[in-house]
Symmetry: C2
Subunit: 715 residues, 2 copies
């Protein structure tokens, strides 16, 4: 894990290679093996036999000598060797003992189909599952499940699963799309869809209740496999956020794209996810920021997941987003240009000179980009070659989409079109090209063999291309800078309620600039303080019993001189005493009035999965009405804070909108980063922190936190 | 057209039945008929013969006696009867004469394939196209094209098109999805996709350059056809916005859903659309508001177009959005709940009592909603029946999605599942139910025969369902109220530049409350005015030479008393005179200061296609930084203005956010409506109007326009 998390519990990434025994076992024992090939304990055995799994398979069943033609053993202890993998398909009550026996025998991995563990709220289930986790940690034997649908490795016929989906359409094809799913049924759904679409999925892993093996472990294992192009994950919630981020980081460092369908975004969905698994679901928006941080792509639909995964199998991840469009339908060109722009691609024009020469070749064509060669170009295919060549050579395009509607389905046309396209593409190997057309499975295979991605729908094509670009950009990004250290002399977060003054002292010690203040106990002291500051001042009531000062008339701003400060002191203390007769009033804090700052808000909350999370937004309506906020898991560097600041819609207000000077975004980023470091270091002591407002002054003049509120952890 | 547009040119909807001769002709003459069945003039003839078109077909070709086995005629004049429809496939130069002959013979419709008209910038093309339009208007013979791909009516084998797409996959199926497209190639693409997906498209119309028949005419014609379930349109831009809105209104009144793919949303796309057709493209956002107003649904992708169109073929348009989810995969339930929420559906829980009884039937199930019956339920299908019945009877759901992944593909399971589902559904005819599963074409047909919609992808399923709901809501909406009349004594928009005072006088006469003011020519007059108003005032420089007063220091606010007003007057006139020595200064306007208003902006601009458009937004950062604005084509009623106001993201600021009183939204809506009526009445005189700000005071206290700027039409 590359980013330091000073105070959070360490979450080391377990040895990814430890899952090798689960996915490439030399021997498999099946506890609960059945002679009935349609039963849970019978299916895997049948699948192994039908697919010629090369390893040893040991059915275990005390009641039979032979199962599906193989010699059966009464128990694990009597096996002739320690099996690499033990598959468990027996009632829950017997599973813990089986796991203990397997570990004692020296098994290296276990997959547990059995249900009746943490997904049951009552009974022994949760305790038994905890015990399984302990066995895994004590023995080093990795355990998938319980309550999972198993794993497979199609390259070696290793079908350690009882899914019935193979009955309906056959076994999966080999290929570089790896699938990891917390849900067995949905994982099976994804694999079935992939097979239907002709996509190869060599590796497939379901994790169920995750007593030991989590989605994170699967990601890390798959990131190390040379025959994996992309890792597609279905996640409902994570048990160990640190392990997930470590795994995402591990995959990122290996340039292995991770596509995530994280469900539970809606309230109903989140509630259903919680009733469906035993996962601790962190706030959905936090996941967004985590995936973005580690370069993983979050998708919303299974179609998008498979589209992106398919596109990743070219292993080409452009760092530019310039798209060239070749079309035989003007309308299609418009559709593609719209779709590409919406997907975040650029559609720049061909250079003027190239346009002129293209027009000479293709007088009827639109030559700007989209380049509409019209169906007429198919009369002389050398024109198609020349056109595509010129776009590849001179357009500066990172990507090309050829949109040919259904015309290439004409065998007569395609017999000439394909060689013409091949000729143009040959000179530009590695350039990403898409054929967008209403295709047949055979034609798709042909163009794929030529190096093309083939899509039917233009919107889906450009969305998948944009995903490749986002991976390209993430892979090209320099390593994240480490967050700064806590400054020397930093104070701990308070254990109880503290007043504004103390809150600001703690923030200041954490490296965040805070406004100066003086406590005035009398009107005369207020006037003296105003005189000392030498400009307009602000007065705020100081009382340990009053958290929300404005509600009781406890704030006065723009007091121009000492007399005004004194008058305001008198009026305020009277007002507050009337509103809150029981409150102890220390006096009022006098601070210089900062008139040239943009009001912003920083805050910290503690996510159940990811720990302290820092929130940022502009003040006032931006946070309260528009909910225009962004967040990051703590801690992070000023560079990452600067990205964060640019994510809010109101950012132009910090960037010189409406004729104002640009604000000191660098100082603001520094303050956010400092707050994140403080939050991470105090994650066990805080419930939330509000710095509201922090004023961002013009560039070079820094920021000033004006008020702060700590809420300590209750437990 | 139900809404009055006082000053805009009238755009009557042409008689929709006049297209009957084009889509259901009893006789067709083919000018340029070819004996070669692969050529443009040969294909339609071949298609008629292959499909047994029942009407008379007259090839016209002066060089042959017989074409493709039919007697040929030398010209239109020599035909034995006036043909219903004349198809034209000859070079552009001869087309106008042909149209004149056809009109003279008494033909009622014409379809022109020939290109070389308005899509060519130079030469005779544009003039010839204008002449074709005149011929149509003079004779009443409706003309589609030129430069179009034709029309078809699959119910009678009427394939008046030269598309080659039938060669590759056969002719379309009959069915209730009608397709209208400005682009021939993209229209063909949509029809091909529909056929591939097994969707029936009886009617298909392409309009090309639209010399006469526009997309609007096709919509109106199709809205009258009983065998049309839904009208899917591809639009790049419209020539006659009034006719489009009239047609949308006509379809809406007939409860015929219209789905629109309006392209050119991106700048590149819009540029490509303009180079591709000769359409005048209005601003893209104006189209959004127009489609919404008339209950048409704008979609972004062809897939969505076909998904929604398919869903419309059930002809069930719910007015509620409550979705019940039945699933055998907990994960699938989460996915669906998320997707449904994102699509704007509701996923309410089953009633508590029903949950309890469901739990008795299905102890393993999650019974809240999503209802996860688990694959276990398939062991006893009567449980499935009971579950679905209970959801239909007691859940109060408008829609049900059954998400069964790929399991029903098992013939064994489906042989029991389908009757179980049928039994439950039989008691609730007309309730919209979806089977969401990885299906086969045969299984899809079976479930469709049972009344289900069948979708593979859950996201696409719920998106299509949400579209049905939006149609249901639009069809159920009461007729729009007419906009108010211009008040008696309304003034015309000014022909030249006018100052703020005159601008406010014109606004006031149009029925929009404006702030009182007095022109002060001296500091003493400023003080007198302030005294007369009796509270704090605002001073603004009054000069016909200064449009932007703040830029020259020409605005002073919060002047508490007459002395302050006098002082401000002296300082302001000196400041402005220094900044703009050449400006003639009349003095300064004194107005009461309104402190309790929320600052908003109203404006008018003139869209090239749709005419005057009214814009609304909150003031300041909302418009300038967040671009948080909404718009409507003028004129409209206060009720529609009220909808508009609720569309901006900042609406909570008018609705009592942050502890403020609710603002007078009714008065604001009235003012917006009044502005729209004024704009419509003056559409030929104005270029733009800015009312900035208009202050919205607390409920019951009205609005006050504080400043206004008219920019007269230049031409």
């Amino acid at each position: 894990m590359s980013d330091a998390r000073p105070a959070a519990p360490a979450s080391p990434l377990l040895d990814p290679a430890s899952l090798t025994a689960m996915l490439r076992p030399r021997s498999v024992a099946i506890v609960g093996a059945s002679n009935d090939p349609t039963r849970i304990g019978g299916r895997p055995l049948r699948y192994y036999r039908e697919n010629g799994f090369p390893g040893a398979v040991y059915p275990i069943n005390p009641n039979r000598d032979e199962i599906q033609g193989l010699k059966a053993y009464p128990d694990i202890a009597s096996l002739p060797e320690a099996p690499d993998l033990v598959l468990v398909a027996i009632p829950a009550a017997a599973v813990v003992a089986t796991a203990e026996q397997a570990a004692a025998k020296g098994a290296r991995a276990m997959v547990i189909f059995s249900s009746g563990f943490a997904e049951m709220e009552d009974g022994d289930g949760p305790a038994m599952q905890r015990r399984l986790g302990e066995i895994a940690r004590e023995s080093g034997m990795r355990i998938a499940g319980p309550n999972c649908l198993g794993v497979f490795n199609a390259a070696i016929g290793h079908y350690c699963t009882f899914t019935a989906s193979f009955d309906l359409g056959g076994f999966p094809q080999e290929g570089g799309i790896a699938i990891v799913s917390q849900s067995g049924a949905y994982g099976s759904h994804m694999a079935t869809l992939a097979r239907e679409k002709g996509l190869g999925t060599t590796y497939w892993m379901t994790t169920g209740n995750e007593c030991d093996v989590q989605v994170a472990d699967c990601i890390a294992f798959l990131a190390d496999q040379p025959d994996v192009d992309v890792i597609g994950c279905y996640i409902e919630g994570v048990l160990d956020a640190g392990r997930l981020t470590a795994a995402l980081d591990y995959a990122h460092a290996r340039r292995k794209p991770v596509v995530v369908m994280k469900v539970g975004r809606s309230d109903v969905g989140a509630a259903a996810a919680q009733s469906h698994t035993a996962s601790l679901a962190g706030a959905d928006r936090v996941y967004d920021s985590v995936f973005r941080r580690y370069g993983a792509l979050r998708v919303e639909t299974t179609e998008e997941m498979l589209d992106v995964a398919y596109a990743c199998t070219r292993r080409t991840f452009p760092t530019g987003r310039k798209l060239g469009i070749v079309t035989i339908s003007g309308g299609g060109g418009v559709v593609l240009a719209d779709a590409a722009t919406a997907a975040g691609l650029e559609v720049p024009a061909m250079p003027a000179d190239a346009q002129r020469r293209l027009k000479e070749i293709l007088p009827f064509a639109a030559v700007r980009n989209p380049v509409d060669i019209t169906a007429q170009a198919f009369n002389d295919m050398s024109l198609v070659t020349k056109n595509v060549e010129m776009m590849l050579a001179e357009g500066g395009y990172d990507l090309i989409v050829n949109f040919f509607t259904s015309v290439p389905r004409s065998k007569v046309i395609n017999a000439r079109l394909r060689p013409a396209m091949q000729e143009a593409a040959r000179k530009f190997p590695g350039r990403l090209q898409v054929m967008c057309m209403i295709s047949t499975p055979e034609m798709t295979k042909e163009y794929e063999a030529d190096g093309y991605l083939v899509f039917e729908d233009p919107h889906r094509a450009v969305k998948a291309l944009a995903a490749l670009c986002s991976f390209g950009e993430a892979f090209a990004r320099p390593p994240r800078a480490a967050p700064p250290d806590l400054p020397a002399g930093a104070l701990p977060a308070p254990a109880g309620v503290v007043d504004e003054r103390e809150a600001k002292r703690i923030l200041g010690a954490a490296g965040i600039p805070v406004v100066e203040d003086r406590l005035a106990r009398t009107a005369a002291e207020a006037a003296a303080a105003a005189r000392a500051f030498g400009g307009p001042v602000v007065l705020k009531i100081s009382s340990p019993d009053i958290l929300h000062k404005t509600e009781v008339g406890g704030v006065a701003v723009g007091l121009a001189d000492p007399d005004a400060a004194a008058a305001a002191f008198a009026a305020m203390t009277a007002r507050v005493a009337a509103a809150r007769p029981a409150a102890h009033i220390d006096g009022a804090l006098v601070s210089p009035m900062i008139a040239d700052g943009v009001e912003c808000i920083m805050g910290v909350s503690v996510d159940p999965a990811f720990g302290p999370v820092v929130l940022f937004g502009l003040g006032g309506i931006f946070v309260e009405v528009l909910k225009d906020v962004t967040l990051r898991v703590a801690p992070f560097s000023p560079a990452e804070a600067a990205e964060m600041i640019r994510e809010v819609k109101g950012f132009p207000l910090l960037d010189g909108a409406r004729g104002k000077p640009k604000a000191d975004v660098a100082a603001l980023a520094e303050a956010l980063s400092r707050l994140s470091v403080f939050a991470a270091a105090n994650s066990d002591r805080i419930d939330s922190i509000d710095v509201n407002p922090i004023l961002v002054r013009p560039a070079g003049q820094g920021v000033v936190a004006v008020d702060a509120l700590f809420v300590p952890r209750q437990s």
